[in-house]
């Protein structure tokens, strides 16, 4: 669990070139909006590609994506359940 969330944080930071430290990201960190990481739809697609490469977990429809991409914890949960 801890291992995969750490990997996910690194993926977020490196793939999306986020200017935050891994320590500043928690499971409750929201992906969108100024209070969260401020991601946009292209970032989400990048993340989908990154998650497939890194974890072998596919997210191929918009409904699933909308459900999964709310917080860092929700992505981690989906990865844990589907890898």
């Amino acid at each position: 669990m801890t291992d995969s969330i750490q990997k996910l944080k690194n993926l977020l930071i490196t793939r999306l070139k986020l200017k935050v430290d891994a320590d500043q990201i928690t499971e409750d960190t929201q992906l969108f909006g100024p209070e969260g990481l401020g991601l946009d739809s292209i970032d989400v697609l990048e993340l989908v590609v990154g998650i497939k490469k890194e974890f072998g977990v596919e997210i191929s429809d918009r409904q699933t994506a909308e459900k999964v991409f709310t917080s860092v914890g929700s992505i981690n949960k989906y990865i844990e359940e589907n890898r």
Partner: protein, 137 residues
């Protein structure tokens, strides 16, 4: 499926911005192989560069993007915008007389956004690679 028609009627682009001359192979929704013949009379060679003409690398990206758009295009005129370029590299200059083979395949689709892995070869040598994201509406 093998297609040899010029894609001019299915691309929303028109002269002088059609960067694809021929579709060699097309599997709709999956992959494509296209050809771009680089001729000395392309207008950009006048200034890029007068003594040593080479195809501007950004136009190679444009050709890659147009080829990729054709994978998704359903014979109706859609609007396609370039939404991202990642890990682009250019191994050597493309010069007049070169025939570029552009191979693109969908890595990820999340409509209206699509990610493609694209390579461009001249005489079996990779001249360029990129991951391209298109917004197709």
């Amino acid at each position: 499926m093998s297609v040899s028609l010029p894609p001019v009627n299915i691309l929303p682009h028109s002269y002088p911005f059609v960067m694809i001359d021929k579709i060699v192979e097309l599997e709709k929704g999956q992959r494509i192989v296209c050809i771009k013949n680089v001729t000395i009379n392309e207008n950009y060679f006048t200034g890029h560069f007068e003594e040593n003409p080479s195809m501007p690398e950004i136009l190679i990206i444009e050709a890659m993007a147009q080829a990729s758009g054709l994978i998704v295009n359903n014979n109706k005129r859609t609007l396609v915008y370039l939404a991202g370029i990642r890990d682009a590299s250019f191994k050597r200059p493309v010069v007049p007389g070169d025939q570029i083979f552009i191979r693109s395949s969908i890595i990820q689709a999340l409509p209206p956004l699509y990610v493609f892995g694209v390579t461009a070869h001249v005489r079996d040598e990779v001249v360029s690679e990129a991951q391209i994201t298109l917004n197709i509406i």
